[in-house]
């Protein structure tokens, strides 16, 4: 068993354009999906959601607001799971509700220091 990081990316506009009902519905889908992983005893860290705003510090102390200037994609959150292999983790990620909203999941093995 190895640990994997799931990084969720999406266009921040998707969430902010949702109606309260759609938000509620989306929330429930997320809970079902993560609950399903937790029910297998494979949730290592429930992770967190990230706010839309943020700063990026670049060389020479240059600060830009937000990481998503060049792209419509922004990291919205992360969780950590346990799986047999990268394939197993990837299979798990295929159930993520973000996929039906135009977002994506990056699956990365964690190398413990």
């Amino acid at each position: 068993m190895n640990d994997f990081l799931f990084v969720f990316r999406n266009d921040p506009a998707v969430m902010s354009n949702m109606s309260p009902e759609a938000l509620q519905n989306s929330m429930q889908k997320w809970m079902d999906w993560i609950g399903g992983i937790a029910a297998q005893g494979k949730l290592v860290d429930r992770g967190n959601r990230l706010a839309n705003e943020g700063n990026v510090v670049r060389p020479s102390q240059v600060v830009t607001d937000g990481p998503y200037i060049e792209t419509k994609e922004s990291v919205g959150g992360f969780i950590m799971v346990r799986a047999e292999s990268l394939d197993g983790a990837t299979e798990m990620a295929k159930g993520c509700p973000i996929l039906s909203n135009g977002g994506n999941v990056e699956v990365r093995p964690i190398i413990r220091m």
């Binding site: 609950g35 029910a39 297998q40 005893g41 429930r46």
Partner: protein, 412 residues
């Protein structure tokens, strides 16, 4: 109340008080002496009251006798007295330099401090539960052995080692300081939770005994809600969850003492008073930001007291199980979540999720899949129930499964 009822009743409530106060007076290292004096007091009560009838104020009588027995003991054993007072005993005829404070306040404080001492992190959880049953609930060795489904010798050894540990770790009877009150209270709650479960879920046949274990766990938790220093939301949530579960006590066994599953229970037997009390404590728990596992389990318990079997009810239960599992994994929560998923959504969806659970050595896993396949594929359901039967350990579980298998086979 007749003597036959009065003494056991008082034993349940007063034994721990006398033991706690004396242990605090002597120091926890001498807990056995405190327990002996408390037991002796009750022995004398049953002898005297049997002949003369109970006194007008039985509790005051018990305290006076306990106090006198203590002073007698100190008079007889001067070395012990020196040890606990740290003073060389003068040639005084009265052994009363030692104050035995039987005020309401000290009784309450001593009991609470005893709870913290017994649930000290240096003790294994099994020992904590054993000590809690023995010292705080006044259960005898054979009763504890009955509750744990083990023999008296094992329990005796366990309690002996636990008391040794209290001595070697120099555990004190005191309230934890501000810095570790949260983690120490957490440990107390976990032990009370397990104590309750021991009574509620154990396969022990003695239903009265199991019920007593539950009631005692509830009393101890209630005591924590009555003390300002420990009256916090998770404590109230735990008590709420106990009330909701206990409300089904009458409904979950039939007159033959066999288990009746939730979906087959006669809901008119659910105890409305306990449900009400559960709601009261759940309200008291619903302040602040903290959402403990007890909050989630109490919420699940609450929805189980709702009689109407609607998808809405099960959707709530499902979402609370999702949160509970995200907070802390347990096989039983995983199985229950999957059952809720079937009720809230569909059996097909629940079967897909169940197959990922990887709990094939757990008989309840096979029972769950059997249940899910009923009405979809009776052959598969039978296979799963048979697999469950081959793994089930308790007689009650086996009987339930055999009945189920018989019923399905007849219908096929």
């Amino acid at each position: 109340m007749e003597n036959q009822e009065l003494i056991p009743h008082l034993f349940r409530t007063e034994y721990r008080k006398i033991t706690a106060v004396l242990s605090k007076t002597f120091g926890l290292a001498h807990i056995e002496i405190a327990q002996d004096i408390a037991s002796d007091t009750f022995l004398q009560a049953s002898e005297m009251w049997g002949i003369k009838g109970a006194p007008d104020n039985p509790v005051a009588w018990l305290y006076t006798v306990a106090r006198n027995k203590t002073l007698d003991y100190l008079r007889r054993d001067k070395l012990f007295k020196e040890k606990i007072t740290g003073k060389v005993v003068r040639e005084s005829p009265m052994g009363d330099e030692l104050e035995i404070d039987l005020s309401t306040q000290n009784i309450t404080d001593s009991q609470l401090q005893m709870m913290f001492a017994i649930c000290h992190p240096s003790l294994p959880v099994e020992s904590q539960i054993g000590l809690a049953l023995n010292v705080l609930c006044g259960f005898g060795i054979s009763e504890i052995a009955g509750a744990f489904l083990t023999n008296k010798e094992t329990i005796n050894k366990r309690l002996y080692r636990a008391r040794e540990k209290l001595r070697t770790e120099d555990v004190k009877m005191e309230f934890p300081g501000e810095t570790d009150i949260e983690s120490r209270l957490d440990a107390v709650l976990r032990t009370l939770y397990l104590l309750f479960n021991e009574g509620f879920y154990s396969a022990g046949k003695d239903i009265t005994l199991r019920k007593d274990v539950c009631i005692e766990a509830m009393w101890l938790t209630k005591m924590l809600t009555e003390n300002p220093g420990t009256d916090c939301p998770p404590v109230n949530a735990l008590l709420a969850l106990m009330c909701f579960h206990a409300s089904r006590f009458e409904a979950r066994t039939n007159p033959q003492g066999e288990t009746v599953l939730y979906q087959d229970q006669d809901d008119s037997l659910w105890d409305a008073t306990l449900i009400c009390r559960g709601e009261y404590y759940l309200n008291r728990a619903s302040v602040g930001q903290q959402l403990s596992r007890y909050h989630l389990e109490a919420a699940i318990g609450y929805w189980h007291t709702i009689k109407a079997d609607t998808p809405e009810k099960w959707e709530h239960i499902l979402q609370y199980y999702n949160q509970l599992l995200i907070l802390e994994y347990s096989p039983i929560a995983a199985l229950n979540r999957t059952y809720a998923l079937a009720k809230a959504r569909s059996k097909a969806e629940a079967i897909r999720e169940a197959e990922k659970l990887n709990l094939t050595t757990n008989h309840l896993y096979h029972s769950l899949l059997g249940e899910l396949y009923l009405g979809i594929d009776e052959g598969k359901a039978l296979e799963y129930f048979n697999a469950s039967l081959s793994l089930a350990k308790s007689k009650a579980d086996k009987r339930l499964l055999m009945e189920k298998i018989e019923r399905i086979s007849e219908a096929c």
